[in-house]
Amino acid sequence: VTADPTFAVHDGSAWTEPHRRQPGKLRKTGTFPPFRGLLPLAGLLGIWQLAGPQHSPYFPRPSTWAQALMTLWRRGTLGPAAAATLGTFLVALTGATVVGVVVGIVVGTSRPADGALGPSLEFARAMPPAAMVPIAVLLIGYDATMKVTVVVFATIWPVLLNTRAGVRFLDPILADTARSLHLNPVDRVRKCVLPALYPSIFLGVRSAVPVALVMTLLVELVTQVNGLGALIGISQRSYQSAAVYGLLLVAALFSMAVNGLAAAVETYALRHRPQQ
């Protein structure tokens, strides 16, 4: 089953239902279908370029996208926008990973904590992340903190749920080992729990990456605070359609780059682990 990576959805699997995905059993990553499959897309773009309307406000030719991007770059708006998006994305992803792992370990380890916090977390998760943008704007204002807060709120869930599931599936022998060695609680988490959880955490982070990127772009688009999303919004409002298409291309490349990078990091970090 392919989990959909493209958007911040509540995937609906009830909080209380046991997680079925076996941590440690990783989906093969980094497999891209044969490149000749790119032919239809290339053909479409080619026809668009050759037979497309000369000056269309709706479907500008692909060559004009590149020109529009060059113009933005020379005006000095594209670089800072990309940097702002990348910054928000990274800070939020890191924050969501830390919070998600900590809360995930807490609710995964302790049944009472899970029972007590479960419904509240489920309630929070049911709140649509996109709709949190206006709330965050009113409470925090139009700034970088607001952006990061919204993105973290949306991105936490895959990390949290995978960590929690990972803790549930931990080998009981690990706990016995820790007890036999008289490890204190800190060492137990650091030396036994965390290393065993890496596969689950990576799985969660990898699902969180596209969510974080989409949410970052969404916040920027809705609030017009810095970044690629805001630039797309501005270009659209001033009817610079070639720039909108060009920026869409940049966003897509960005998305492929971070997803590919996340998969590569995961494969590298887990290279010594047996693929079950």
Partner: protein, 252 residues
Amino acid sequence: VRRVNLLGLGTLAGFLGLWEALVRSRLLNFQYLPAPSATAAAAWDLVLSGQLTAAAGHTLEVTLIGWVAASAAGVVLGLTLGLSRTAWRYSMASIEVMRAIPPVALVPIAFLVFGFSIRMELVIIMFVSSWPVLVNTIDGVRGVPAALRDVARVLRLSNGATIRKITVPAALPTIVVGLRLALSLSLVLAVVAEMIGNPAGLGNALVRAQQALQPAQMFAYVLSIGLLGVALNAAFQHAARWVVPGLGKGAS
């Protein structure tokens, strides 16, 4: 029968009570943070005045139309690509590339082409929500166990009969997962499209409440969107189990 998680519900009620108390006593001093009671009152007013139901009706309608269209396209295309290796080899890479486009970035383009209209919402939903259906249909069709394919061969089923009697039923649980993801996605996209462009529905009402500095109404709308999502999901799970008997809990 599911046991009610009293402890958990108590904690949730405790959080809400604490929130109420903090806002009322002005210990938590955000200018625009409404107490839960104020949110409930605002929601009630919006229901009585018909604004909430009208907005929710629009969003629900768009979500469902878009979802049905996206699902139909996704299943048909998915069956084609799942069954024909040649079709798969010569188009899957294009699909992977298009799927990588962040959906929000498409909203401005749909907006350029279609302006403020319901078509813009529908196009966005159809474009984005068909991916999970498509990918899951392909996975489902390709994952049909070899033994089942042997059965079809032994029974000398025609190609059409094999697809109808063997492939589709075997792929159905996976397809259903795709349909469910697509449904949640459709609602989110409808709300996003309404927030950014189309002046109708819950998303737009939410943004207007924010601009009018009506935080209680805003929270009421956010809550309604959340509830709509949960309700749609529950309805889908129920329907799926009814339509596809033997669909294990695990599959949906």
